[in-house]
């Protein structure tokens, strides 16, 4: 990066670090922070949508919709999230390949499951074996985002269901007495008022989501944990910047990053709570 980085072995400490911290692998390390932010930016709204749909379905008058909604949200209560992640990524990946396999290769006669292997015909492989690397990476990332959305959607569903029930019942009855339809009551009375009840729970989920981002590493995505381990490991003179085992410092850096990130989130969320509480018949609103 800097002009004096030509021969790192001759540099004094400050310049050595200036060069070291701006070399190619570190640039990839910094970029991987964007991967984490991208995950949050897509997975959070997606999860909220899933949660909203699940909560709405759980309150439905149609029994099967209620079963689906409740079944989905109650998954969170009994299953550890790490099991969810490993399971859903496999299910999505194999499910997509299996469906494409049925469509593209109807006369395939070999079994798809052979021992530990899941073998579909070449045309059904997703992404195609000969596709460029960035497609493979994007596909894996998309699977991961979708999995986060499913898992955290169930958490959100639980919270939103509770929030919908917390809106005082007389308000809905009053609305009905004024002649509003069920749909109108839902969108104009229930939904605008439930957010304040949902917010503490949703902020909690947001914090858990931030803290769950290192699971990307488990799903084989090159995230900040991957690079911290990769770069922090000891490097001999084969490398331009040899150093002993520095994983301690890299993981310490991640720790500080996550602590800072959750702290900033906390500040923003508490402001949002104050803003949404105005004029509401909740404890915070009544006091304000």
């Amino acid at each position: 990066m800097f002009s004096f980085c030509e021969d790192p072995s001759t540099l004094e400490t400050f310049r050595w670090f200036a060069c070291y911290l701006t070399n190619g692998v570190h640039m990839l390390f910094y970029q991987s922070f964007l991967v984490v932010f991208a995950l949050l930016a897509v997975a959070a709204p997606l999860a909220l949508t899933f949660g909203f749909l699940a909560a709405t379905a759980s309150r439905s008058r149609i029994a099967p919709a209620r079963w689906v909604g409740k079944g989905y949200t109650s998954m969170v209560r009994g299953i550890p999230d790490i099991v969810f992640f490993l399971f859903f990524v496999l299910v999505l990946d194999q499910g997509i390949e299996y469906i494409r396999h049925l469509i593209t290769c109807p006369d395939w006669d070999e079994p798809i499951r052979q021992g530990a292997n899941f073998l579909v015909c070449d045309q059904a492989r997703t992404p195609q074996g000969n596709a460029p690397q960035w497609i493979h990476e994007t596909y894996n990332f998309a699977l991961a985002v979708f999995t986060y959305a499913i898992v955290f959607g169930a958490f959100c569903g639980n919270v939103l269901y509770g929030a919908m029930n917390a809106v005082p019942r007389p308000q809905m009855e009053t609305a009905a007495a004024y002649g509003m339809s069920g749909r109108q009551i839902f969108w104009r009375v229930l939904v605008p008022q439930m957010w304040i009840y949902a917010l503490p729970g949703l902020s909690n989920i947001w914090m858990i989501l931030i803290k769950a981002t290192p699971l990307l590493f488990l799903l084989g995505i090159e995230d900040i944990v991957y690079w911290a381990r990769e770069i922090g490991g000891s490097r001999n003179s084969r490398f331009a910047y040899p150093h002993p085992d520095w994983r301690f410092w890299y993981f310490l850096g991640l720790l500080i990053f996550y602590l800072g990130f959750t702290k900033v989130s906390e500040i923003v969320l508490s402001r949002l709570t104050r803003r949404l509480s105005r004029g509401q018949a909740s404890a915070a609103g009544a006091a304000a």
Binding site: L46, G129, L143, E230, S234, R238, R247
Partner: protein
């Protein structure tokens, strides 16, 4: 928000289809954590003996190749399920692996595996020895009586375990350990070398036509001496050559 859902699902479902044609690329799978065989260099690219060798083999076989890294412990399942087309990751040819995948002829001659530790007078009996999961070295240690085997996911962690005293020694390939021992005053090669494995070859899916192409390229590199030159360049003068 609807748009985001649509884009995400659309991406998931069509990523493969859109690029089904064209791009005849051979994906070379490696670990990227085993210097000097293969590692990620300071620019973030795959480097090492196997990078140099693989690029030359692809050039000779007239193939377009692309490098991919994968964790060692899932490197074979991800080959068989088609995530990449070859394994070129310092993998020794063994009968056990040969049942699941096919190998080319070896490009690194069979070499003895070594122990590295801090105590010159260490005895095998009662020792705690580190090895990487799923390697022939871990398989060998598991069969030895009186040895406690501790396994790690990456080669670097096996060496770190010796440095911090968790293990008495690490058991791994010759050329990986000697270069570390050369530079670290505390660590030295100890105990007796153990000959293991039938040399290092490229792994491919069973019955893949690419095997013949890579075999021919390896033969031509053995014949004109370029393979030996590469081995000496990366492993040093003392290494075994063809």
């Amino acid at each position: 928000m609807k748009k985001i859902i649509l884009t995400t699902t659309a991406l998931a479902f069509t990523a493969g289809m859109a690029f089904a044609d064209g791009h005849s690329v051979v994906r070379m799978g490696t670990e990227g954590a085993y210097p000097p065989y293969n590692f990620i260099n300071d620019d973030g690219e795959v480097d090492g003996l196997e990078r140099a060798l693989g690029d030359e083999l692809c050039a000779r076989a007239e193939l377009t190749c692309e490098w991919v890294t994968n964790e060692w412990d899932s490197i074979i399942p991800n080959l068989t399920s088609g995530n990449y087309d070859t394994i070129i990751a310092g993998m020794s040819i063994t009968d056990e692996r040969d049942e699941v995948i096919d190998f080319t002829q070896p490009y690194i001659p069979p070499a003895a595996s070594l122990f590295m530790g801090m105590d010159e007078g260490l005895e095998m009996d009662g020792a705690t020895i580190a090895a990487q999961t799923g390697t022939i070295q871990a398989g060998y240690l598991a069969e030895q009586e009186g040895v406690t085997l501790i396994e790690f996911a990456t080669p670097d962690e096996t060496v770190a375990a010796v440095r911090n005293g968790e293990a008495d020694a690490v058991f791994a390939d010759n050329d990986f350990l000697t270069q570390i021992a050369d530079e670290d005053a505390d660590l030295s090669i100890i105990l007796e070398p153990v000959p293991l494995g039938g040399g290092v070859g490229m792994g491919l899916r069973e019955g893949d036509e690419l095997i013949a192409a890579f075999d021919a390229a390896i033969t031509s590199m053995k014949e004109d001496g370029t393979l030996n030159a590469l081995l000496i360049e990366w492993f040093g003068e003392d290494t075994q050559t063809w």
